[in-house]
């Protein structure tokens, strides 16, 4: 058996992850053609690279099909119930920073806090006959956040991309999405709620609590963890 390490399969997240491991003496690389999702690991024995979509890494860790995985805290918390029972956080990698926030149109000058949003929701429902729509792909995190802060009379509508455009397109009244610089929000005439930070996320190395380990695997995993100094 080998230790399976799940890493995002494309883009900046993959490159930065390769850099982070490389700086610690573990060289990760893609092999074969540009389009083939195969990888190699050098500098440590018995570790296999598994290239996956970042969104699938939480599920694979929870199922124990990979031993280690790099993904965002946001995805782990959104997708796994009682996440800390299923995976362990080994190290924050210092990149991929993004905040899950709630944003409303700039023109809502009366809304700055969750308290304002709640009042706007009540009035909106009375006026329009349906619950104010918040577009997001982070259903569980946003729902729990709004419940804990006592916001009612809203509904979450699913948006898997171009979420900031939903308000202008009249498919939602507000959005809950990941932002790093806020530029996309500004370009779409949206502003953050001052107390609407749902979660601060960054790329993080997680370990599965479910993956089976032989004695040899356990030794290899310990060696790798030593090498990475996490």
């Amino acid at each position: 058996m080998t230790i399976k390490l799940g890493v995002p399969s494309k883009g900046r997240l993959m490159e930065k992850t390769f850099d982070w491991f490389g700086a610690r003496g573990v060289a990760l690389s893609r092999t074969g053609s540009d389009r083939e999702y195969a990888g190699a690991v050098e500098g440590v024995d018995g570790v296999e690279l598994v290239l996956l979509s970042a969104g699938e890494i939480p599920r694979e860790l929870a199922a124990g099909r990979i031993h280690l995985g790099v993904t965002g805290t946001d995805l782990i918390r959104e997708k796994l119930g009682r996440w800390d029972m299923q995976v362990g956080e080994l190290a924050e990698l210092g990149f991929g920073q993004a905040d899950l926030i709630i944003a409303v149109p700039n023109a809502w000058v009366d809304v700055d806090t969750l308290d304002d949003l709640d009042a706007a929701c009540a009035a909106f429902r009375a006026e329009h006959g349906f619950r104010l729509r918040i577009a997001t792909k982070y259903h569980r995190l946003v729902r729990e956040f709004l419940r804990d802060h006592g916001v009612a009379d809203y509904q979450l509508v699913d948006s898997q991309g171009a979420t900031e455009g939903t308000v202008k397109n009249l498919t939602a009244e507000a959005v809950a999405d990941i932002t790093s610089t806020g530029e996309t929000l500004r370009a779409n005439h949206l502003k953050l709620l001052s107390d609407g930070l749902v979660l601060k996320s960054q790329a993080t190395l997680f370990k599965s609590r479910a993956a089976p380990l032989s004695d040899q695997d356990r030794k290899r995993l310990d060696q790798l963890i030593d090498l990475l100094q996490v």
């Binding site: 149109p105 023109a107 329009h128 809203y154």
Partner: protein, 361 residues
């Protein structure tokens, strides 16, 4: 007998017992239109109920309770007065606690009757209690109607009262609103700044989305009214706190509430209702002298109840959910009745917990 079969048999017995005292047996669909439940409970229900869907009917939920479909059925074509009983499975999604069951059997008894609400309250309580009384259970009772009356009686703006009533089932939110309306917590700086502007609507931002600038202006008007309104007097907040903290045996609680009603006359009518209920309970032979009453009971879990509420708990097993719960839900019939309404009260038992606790004795 295997556990599931035992629970099923126990459920049949309970339901037949309710039929024997005059309830009509009803069945409801397992799949319920999600929209109705979402509009009623809000988005939070998604965390507690299983959602499924198909391309024809859209989103549906595995019934998280029977009350809503039974009320709908009665409002559509029920004769009055009516008494219903049912037994079957309900489904509750669990996201944080895997020791809690995600499907279990409920047996219920529901009364739709305009005549004598106090007698109907007592009838439901007595029948549910009769079914679980052989176990050593702790009983809690309360009355959301008294709380609502107290809020409605506050000397403040209608808007503030409406905001407090809307959050009566969310105690933390209720408290933070009350703190602000009574001036115990400062108004957020962003709101002060907004209201200090000569014309906050002259902002130059792009007007996007369905929520119109007229709605924004209306809310600013509401904020101005709120800023100009006097804070809710400290004495009134103290009375409300006193009321929320009432927790004693029924006769003592009644005395205490009568004292509070002297300074808070708005609750007088609701306290009379409590008195009628105590009399009706006593008339059915229930020992009201030892029955516990908690004014805050039912605020965090039982969101559609708006009058009498009760629950039976296994004192020795605080880890278990209540064995039986119930209450009055007049407002629910109004929401689901499309213009019609009828006073209604009901209760449910979990036979699975009965079997479990009986086995432990």
């Amino acid at each position: 007998m295997p556990q599931r079969a035992k629970i099923r048999a126990r459920a049949e017995d309970l339901r037949q017992g309710f039929e024997a005292v005059g309830a009509t047996r009803v069945e409801t669909a397992v799949l319920q239109p999600a929209e109705t439940l979402l509009d009623l409970y809000g988005e939070d229900i998604r965390g507690r109920a299983y959602v499924t869907s198909d391309a024809l009917r859209g989103e549906q939920m595995l019934r998280p309770d029977f009350t809503v479909p039974v009320v709908q059925m009665h409002m559509e074509h029920g004769a009055e007065p009516a008494r219903y009983t049912y037994s079957g499975k309900v489904f509750r999604r669990q996201e944080d606690d895997d020791s809690r069951d995600n499907e279990y059997v409920q047996v219920g008894y529901e009364v739709f009757d305009r005549e004598n609400p106090a007698a109907a309250d007592a009838e439901v309580f007595d029948l549910i209690r009769g079914a679980v009384n052989h176990l050593d259970l702790r009983c809690a009772t309360g009355d959301i109607g008294i709380l609502k009356a107290a809020v409605q009686g506050l000397e403040t703006t209608e808007r503030r009262k409406a905001a407090l009533l809307r959050h009566i089932w969310r105690p933390r939110r209720f408290r933070s609103l009350l703190d602000r309306f009574s001036g115990r917590v400062a108004v957020p700086a962003s709101r002060v700044a907004l209201l200090a502007q000569d014309d906050p609507m002259d902002h130059g931002f792009a007007d996007i989305g369905l929520r119109s600038q007229t709605e924004v202006a209306a809310r600013i008007e509401a904020l101005r009214e709120d800023a100009d309104a006097a804070p809710i007097a400290a004495g009134q907040v103290a009375l409300l706190d006193q009321l929320l903290n009432v927790r004693e045996t029924l006769p003592n609680a009644l005395e205490h509430l009568r004292d509070i009603a002297v300074d808070m006359p708005a609750i007088t009518e609701a306290v009379f209702c409590l008195e009628d209920r105590i009399r009706a309970l006593a008339a059915r032979g229930i020992d009201v002298e030892t029955l516990e009453f908690e004014a805050s009971y039912g605020r965090s879990q039982m969101e559609y109840y708006d009058g009498f509420v009760f629950g039976f708990y296994a004192g020795a097993r605080p880890d278990l959910p209540p064995v039986a719960t119930g209450g009055r839900y007049d407002a629910l019939t109004r929401v689901l009745g499309q213009g019609r309404e009828i006073p209604a009260v009901g209760g449910v038992i979990r036979p699975g917990l009965l079997v479990l606790l009986e086995g432990a004795e």
